[in-house]
Subunit: 218 residues, 2 copies
């Protein structure tokens, strides 16, 4: 299929799909989104996603799963504009913060997202606010303290340019926003201002608007 | 400290520490191992490992956690010999198999390792063989089927050169070996031969011998 666009397999409300979609926008790469739920038993999906997870990125006969692997591939395939720093230590620091967001922030925001978004908006079931309150009390503060300690008063989290760490942290904070929560600017002033800057980035802002519309339509 | 060696913080029986140590040997980088248990409350450790995990890699004032991030950093800092392919698709495939080993193989081997090694050898407690049998029956076969399907009859798992995917899969299979298990060569002939080749690699073989001696001394 000459001229066929690359395909992102997944669902738009997955933070990992959001991260890859934002990376593609940053890279100026057009793509199609092929809707598939994580865990889908569909055989053609399983053939490209051995663990049944989303996203999977496909270019013709080539495909690769895992948002971090996909972003590393995109950086090689489409080096400009770069999403990773040229210096070795900055590069390592960005990859570490990407990993932190992919694991720790997902764990911290998970209970909020599953209650306020999946349970309430998608399945129209009552929200267990005790679960939400527990996560806000016990899980959120140590993570926000850590991010606050890594941030400056302005700019991006590593070096001078917007990059993969900002994009990944931002993609996860969109889930916090969908859950109806915002960073307390009195307690975490740098983080609150940073999340606002990241969410205003066109690559993420366009996904926020699209996803809010799809949530409102449910 | 001119001439000070880089430091790997962690314990030798962690598969992720083993992976980084093998990568350093492959790269010809001398290092020191600073023994610290994952979850240690030691403040100087926590200052370089926000999640309390091992390994952390340190070069003077610079440090970075997470075995995958460390290996990506080492590839940039010490490009020769390469552990990642030059072509984009091979690069993505190696990173995906690294991720598969780091998550799925660790999940599959975890019950075996915790019973046969941690519980029995380290803590001198009875092994719950029902847990072991359950993992061997339910978890191991799908993972071994997948790896078998990705392998050729000889050589390494991606391309012509030994690389990060082989090293990571090998590091995880050392845990399977410590648990007293070996790949059934009748059921998974390619995988059995591959694991034998990977474990004979000097970088991993030297760690196997060292770790078996330390387990025997417990």
């Amino acid at each position: 299929m000459p001229g066929a666009l690359p395909i992102v397999h997944g669902v738009s409300l997955s933070p990992f799909v959001r991260k890859v979609r934002a990376a593609l926008v940053e890279k100026g790469v057009e793509y199609e989104l092929a809707s598939v739920m994580p865990g889908s038993p569909d055989e053609s999906f399983r053939s490209i996603s051995p663990l049944g997870k989303v996203p999977v990125y496909q270019e013709g006969a080539f495909s690769v799963p895992d948002s971090s692997v996909i972003c590393a591939y995109l950086e090689r395939r489409h080096p400009s504009p770069p999403l990773l720093p040229a210096d070795d230590e900055g590069y390592a620091r960005v990859l570490w913060l990407e990993e932190y967001a992919d694991t720790k922030l997902v764990e911290v925001f998970g209970p909020l997202y599953s209650q306020r978004v999946i349970q309430t908006i998608v399945f129209k079931q009552p929200c267990d606010e005790a679960v939400v309150a527990g996560a806000l009390r016990d899980l959120v503060p140590p993570a926000f303290d850590y991010l606050e300690s890594e941030l400056s008063e302005d700019g991006w989290i590593v070096g001078d340019a917007f990059g993969l760490a900002d994009l990944t942290i931002g993609a996860m904070f969109v889930g916090f926003r969908h859950a109806g929560e915002f960073v307390d600017a009195e307690r975490w002033p740098r983080l609150a201002a940073y999340v606002a800057r990241v969410e205003a980035r066109p690559s993420l802002a366009s996904l926020i608007v699209e996803e809010e519309a799809s949530l409102a339509a449910l």
